[in-house]
């Protein structure tokens, strides 16, 4: 009896039973908030490393985004399903194991089905493991929410990450290489007039500058202020 009483006081207050909502207000927030108001990159400042690394070309940014969305959705669902069984003291390790396994599976699948792209993305797919987004969302959302909501949260955050990646990569590819999705967009006549591709944009500092400007612009628009 004493054990049962102790267990009862330590258990988190269980939320009032809610009817399952397929796409209610909470679900909409989970998907759409991360796209702008709570964007993982520009507001939460998660996943900056890969945002700097894979934004040289738009096609790589798109594949990277798809990979992150896939990993994030799966990891959120798995963590959410297990959330009541995961011992609190080792939860971070469990999340890491789940995320790492999923990333390796994605990497292996790319090698088998999209070999050329996987060659170019090589190390960066692996870096999703260390990217804070997957861990951050597992800890902040999936540990407290139901699988379906967590799936939507993963989808929203992955897409929010992807949007920023694509926007940054459009600037970098057009300004740095004069191409978009590997098609030339800067007319030859402009080069004849002495225009040159901006080498800085191909290098990491170019990503820092574009991302910084983007964060500034978005925070000015949404009015977000760090606490």
């Amino acid at each position: 009896m004493a054990d049962a009483a102790a267990g009862a006081t330590q258990a988190p207050p269980s939320p009032p039973a809610q009817p399952f909502e397929f796409f209610g207000k909470k679900q909409r927030e989970a998907v759409f908030d991360p796209l702008s108001d709570n964007n993982p990159i520009t507001i939460q400042i998660l996943g900056i490393c890969s945002a700097l690394a894979v934004t040289v070309r738009v096609d790589k940014a798109i594949v990277m985004s798809i990979a992150v969305i896939a990993v994030l959705c799966c990891s959120n669902v798995i963590i959410s399903v297990l959330r009541n069984w995961i011992p609190n003291s080792i939860r971070i390790i469990i999340m890491l194991a789940v995320v790492a396994s999923l990333v390796i599976i994605v990497d292996e699948a790319l090698k088998a089905f999209l070999y050329d792209l996987s060659k170019e993305l090589s190390v960066f797919i692996g870096l999703i493991i260390t990217s804070c987004i997957a861990m951050g969302r597992a800890e902040a959302f999936a540990m407290q929410n139901k699988p379906w909501d967590s799936f939507l949260d993963g989808l929203g955050n992955g897409a929010g990450y992807g949007i920023i990646l694509v926007v940054v990569s459009v600037f970098r590819e057009v300004l740095g290489s004069g191409t978009l999705l590997n098609f030339s967009v800067v007319p030859q006549s402009l080069y004849d007039l002495g225009y040159q591709n901006m080498g800085l944009m191909v290098l990491s500092p170019g990503a820092f500058i574009v991302l910084g400007l983007l964060i500034w612009a978005q925070r000015a628009y949404t009015g977000f202020v760090e606490d």
Binding site: A6, G7, Q10, A11, P12, A53, V54, V56, R57, K60, N84, W85, I86, P87, N88, S89, I90, I93, I94, A97, V98, A100, S101, I104, I105, E108, A109, K111, A112, F113, Y115, D116, K119, E120, L121, S122, V123, F124, G199, V202, L203
Partner: protein
């Protein structure tokens, strides 16, 4: 909710078991496909260096690569003195390379990928191995039947930075080795490498005929470019005995 130590250990062990099982199954299931991809990627690069299927032709995909490779490419294995070793295959070259690794000895066997048109060898692709910024890089440099002129090249740089060092694998860089570009690996008296220069400085650094021994590097990828520079210079010296045979009309 508090869990006992035993539960924590059991849970951790369970997660490890499930994760490792999942990975093992994935790896086994996809292994065959991946190895086919790796093989085709290698063959595609050899074919590209040898200018197959040629400009304006649609790129080969899937089994077409293996078919074209089997039909048009013949591997010749040579030793360090340039003598052709009959009956040796790619695996022999690989084991020779493994044996020389970590020692100062030169690799005993070297591959030459020859392009065969109607029974005649028209191009020779030599293999170069070197070091880029993050890891090994390699490449094929195809030579004309004269043994002097460069007719094509492809590079592998899987460890290099995407968008920077990795760009040496892209057409923008490799097209500088096409036949029309008129690059050479020998000036008539001694073998010469191909210098990879800072873009925009090539004309100034390589005046007149020297331009035949220079290409534009990739901005922001100086160390990878230096790696290409060094490995090509090393390869042309290593293959010089064999190339001399070819120039004297003794090619195979």
């Amino acid at each position: 909710m508090a869990h006992g130590t035993g539960y924590i250990f059991a849970f951790a062990a369970g997660v490890c078991l499930v994760c490792s099982l999942g990975l093992a199954v994935t790896s086994q299931a996809l292994k065959e496909r991946q190895q086919v991809n790796i093989k085709r990627d290698f063959q595609k690069n050899v074919l590209l260096a040898l200018d197959l299927p040629g400009d304006g032709q649609p790129p080969l995909v899937g089994e077409q690569i293996e078919a074209m490779y089997a039909e048009r490419v013949k591997l010749v294995v040579i030793d360090t003195t340039g003598v052709v070793q009959e009956g040796k295959v790619k695996a022999d070259v690989e084991s020779a390379r493994a044996a020389a690794k970590g020692t100062d000895n030169p690799v005993a066997l070297m591959p030459v990928y020859t392009r065969v048109d109607d029974g005649n060898v028209v191009n020779y692709a030599i293999e170069a191995n070197g070091v880029g910024l993050w890891g090994p890089i390699s490449g094929f440099i195809a030579l004309g039947s004269d043994g002097y002129s460069v007719t094509g090249a492809t590079f592998f740089a899987s460890k290099e930075t995407p968008g920077l060092g990795y760009e040496i694998t892209q057409p923008k860089f490799t097209q500088q080795f096409k036949k029309a570009a008129g690059k050479r690996i020998h000036d008539g008296t001694s073998p010469r490498g191909i210098g990879v220069k800072k873009p925009g400085t090539t004309a100034g650094l390589c005046p007149g005929d020297e331009i035949a021994y220079c290409v534009d590097g990739v901005s922001g990828a100086t160390i990878t470019g230096d790696g290409v520079d060094a490995m090509v210079a090393e390869a042309v010296v290593a293959y010089e005995p064999y190339l001399t045979h070819i120039r004297n009309g003794g090619g195979s």
